[in-house]
Amino acid sequence: MKNRKKPDDEQNKKMSRRDFMGAAAAATAFTIVPRSVLGGRGNIAPSEKVNIAGIGVGGQGGGDIRALSSQNIVALCDVDWRHAGGTFKRHPNAKKYKDFRIMLDEEDKNIDAVIVATPDHVHAVASMAAIKRGKHVYCEKPLTHSVYEARMIAKAAREHKVATQMGNQGQAGEERRLMSEYIWAGAIGQVREVHVWTDRPLQGINGVYWPQGVDRPKETPPVREGLDWDLWLGPAPERPYHPAYAPFKWRGWWDFGTGALGDIGCHSIDPIWRALKLKCPVSVEASCTLVNNETYPVASMVTYHFGARGDMAPVKMTWYDGGLRPPRPDELEEGQQFGTNGTLFVGDKGKMFGYTILPESLRKDFGKPPKVLPRSPGHHQEWIDACKGGKPAGSNFDHAGPLAEAVLLGNVALRPEIKEKLTNKSLLWDGPGFKFTNMPEANKYLHTEYREGWSL
């Protein structure tokens, strides 16, 4: 692994823009300099293209790369070359890798930024490796696999002053801004209760996107061609290959994924987080179907309590998945769908379903809220702009880190060992201190243990 140039070495040389960024990052590690000051000077010029490497380029990774194809896609890395085939084909000039560590070493000079769209359990190690090299990072949601990783990644990104964005692309939408603007304008009064749900892992009435509530398969089929199973496992504990994990169905497994909550929570809790200006929760609890130590439960409900924020009242947020939903509000007119995914804010003066104010009479009376939030040029574009010195992207890790932490805290509550104990208490969370204060044994689930040879 090459060392990055130190700032003092650089004085005699013509600085490349990439070198300059490194310098800026080092300089700002101990002083707080607003991003905007660094922006214009330290980053890639707006007229230039960003040199991007993809890590995990099948599936959603392929989609992210497509969304960023106006830039230079210079390198592609995937442990499953069959799954990555389509993306490889679309970018024949990009260098191909299986191991992101080798790619980052070999392509260090050629890469400005990386897109991480691996399974959840690899997000943190890949993102951290890139951040430490001063690369800008776009990482798919959830930001990480463990609460600790989310905390550390956000911290590292802040220290290295790289441009970051989590892959919860909905955050860039118009409706998300309206949700905040309605709440801030007092359209439904003080909000003390929010509901948020997804039908995942269900797909339609009887299908599933991926199974949950199942046990580890006993068969040990040969590793499929094109897949480097050891690299796919990455930092996760060793286990034999099985198609039950890769590609895609890893989401349901504790060791690799983060369940329906991790998959969708970062999308759908995001607007709640913004509108209600949430910081870390003060408590979390959960109930669910039978859960084992292999996979997430078939269906779950997670309840978070948040304290007061400024003049905003304490709020209770309830998550539902696997087909569960909150009560359909009486104000919702018959015939209007309640949604397979959705959010419902319950205010003192009314309700907001998505960005629709309920009841309709209130919506009509209230009209449109004042437009106080700037609109987005698009989720991926936000990040590109930030890489080029623009303002931080909407879901930069200072925002996405705490959001992902909260989402992943819900999964701690769903751990079999913890869920059993929730009959006697809710988990009380000390966010700044990074610990549960009333159930020490839960703290180990804030971390993911890494295999030898892997570290953050």
């Binding site: 009887n206 109930s287 039978l290 409900m301 309590h305 087909g323 569960l324 018959e334 397979t340 809710s426």
Partner: protein, 464 residues
């Protein structure tokens, strides 16, 4: 075996006994004959139960002659509870499951087919205890009621709303003593729930949460493809009873039928009858305005692994509108903040009442300090001599049992309406509806196809 035992027992009972078997034209009316006569009379005039009671029933000094139908598992437990009486006949389609009860009551006559038993033993039976799978409750109960037998039937009262309505009406008309097997209703706890609420301990109640995480019977699965041979100890055709024909498989019995829609009624049907009893009683609930449901996935074969059902009840008497939410499969409401850390908020089963002035978990006021400060509410309800004893007393002319069908029938209808909402869950979602319900007319008013579930279809040869 119209037994010597019975004859011996009745010695010294005088005229009625002596002419017991005689035709009622030329002999004094037997009490059973009297019940029939009274029933016939009552079919066209409304006669309060208590008028009939004392006269038409078995005198308290006598023992009842009881037949058990479905006598393994819970049925054996029920028989044990009434074993102070004469257990004269036993019926089960599963000789293996029934073996324990057969052994416990060696003098009882044994049957496989309840129809045959009731026909043959008509004269020897005063009352029946029914603990078959849900799908045969109604046909058995109805036949027994029509023969003037008192009925103790396990919960839920029947497999469909229509069956419940018909059985409840028939029991009322026949004037027989009835009791549903939700024995918790007889508890001190259930009375305290009522007395706290009626004494305004938590103010008007607008919200109740009720949950159960039992039993863990298989759910959320598909019909098996294998067709193993029917074991020699089982009469599969009789086990199916009125249900549609399907091949035998050990995944259905014993007990595990609860999760299969054709036979059982899921956790809601099973445990809801226990959990809802104090709620219905304390809050005087009738039929809901609407019901809504969601679940971890419903198929046409089995109940979901986990479900939530929400009922909205209109205001009634002095009570405001109420939202009642049911949870099963491990789901439960959020822990009330009034419940101090360390106090159990278990997922096994419980009820949480949310009033304008406070909360109550089961019959415990929250927080603990409130409970201590409040003490006990005034005692306004009579205490129970025991759930089975209530029924035995009613059979002998005492007051109606606490969960007689006039009480438990409408409640069970509401419970099974929840299952219809679960069946319709996806449709409700797609169409953006809640299920509006016209209770008196047993009709879902805004989703006609839901009404197909009001009544179970019977196989040829079976009727109510």
């Amino acid at each position: 075996m119209r037994s010597l035992k019975r004859t011996a027992k009745r010695q010294g009972r005088g005229v009625v006994k002596k002419h017991h078997r005689a035709n009622n034209v030329d002999a004094g009316l037997s009490r059973r004959d009297f019940v029939r006569a009274a029933t016939a009379a009552a079919a066209f005039t409304i006669v309060p139960r208590y008028v009939l009671g004392g006269a038409g029933h078995v005198p308290p000094s006598e023992k009842l002659n009881i037949a058990g139908i479905g006598i393994g598992g819970r049925g054996a437990g029920d028989l044990h509870e009434v074993s102070s009486e004469n257990i004269v006949a036993l019926c089960d389609v599963d000789q293996r499951y029934a073996a324990g009860a057969f052994k416990a009551y060696p003098n009882a006559k044994k049957y496989r087919d309840f129809r045959r038993m009731l026909d043959k033993e008509d004269k020897n039976i005063d009352a029946v205890v029914i603990a078959t799978p849900d799908h045969t409750h109604a046909v058995i109960t109805m036949k027994a009621i029509k023969m003037g037998k008192h009925v103790y039937c396990e919960k839920p009262l029947a497999h469909s709303i229509y069956e419940i309505r018909k059985v409840t009406e028939a029991a009322r008309e026949a004037g027989v003593a009835t009791q549903l097997g939700n024995q918790g209703q007889a508890s001190e706890s259930n009375r305290l729930v009522c007395e706290f609420i009626w004494n305004d301990a938590i103010g008007p109640v607008r919200e109740v949460h009720s949950w159960s995480n039992r039993p863990i019977s298989p759910r959320g699965i598909d019909r098996p493809r294998e067709t193993p041979p029917v074991p020699e100890w089982l009469d599969w055709d009789l086990w199916l009873g009125p249900s549609p024909q399907r091949p035998y498989h050990p995944c259905y019995l014993p007990f595990s039928w609860r999760g299969w829609w054709d036979f059982g009624t899921g956790v809601l049907g099973d445990i809801g009858c226990h959990q809802f009893a104090p709620i219905f009683r304390a809050l005087k609930l009738g039929y809901p305005t609407y019901v809504d449901a969601c679940s971890s996935g419903v198929n046409s074969e089995t109940a979901p692994l986990a479900s939530m059902v929400r009922y909205e009840f209109p205001s009634r008497y002095d009570f405001p509108e109420l939202e009642l939410t049911w949870y099963d499969g491990g789901l439960m409401p959020a822990r009330p903040k009034e419940l101090k850390e360390g106090l159990r908020f278990g997922n096994a089963d419980d009820n949480l009442f949310v009033g304008d002035k406070g909360k109550m978990l089961g019959h415990r006021l929250l927080p603990e300090s409130r409970s201590q400060e409040y003490g006990k509410p005034p005692r306004v309800l009579a205490r129970s001599p025991g759930h089975h004893k209530e029924w035995l007393d009613a059979c002998k002319g005492g007051p109606p049992a606490g969960s007689n069908f006039d009480v438990s029938g409408p409640m069970t209808e509401v419970i099974l309406l929840g299952n219809i909402a679960l069946h319709m869950g996806q449709k409700l979602y797609e169409k953006g509806l809640k299920l509006y319900y016209d209770g008196p007319n047993m009709k879902v008013t805004n989703l006609p196809e839901a009404n197909e579930y009001i009544r179970s279809e019977y196989r040829d040869g079976w009727n109510l």
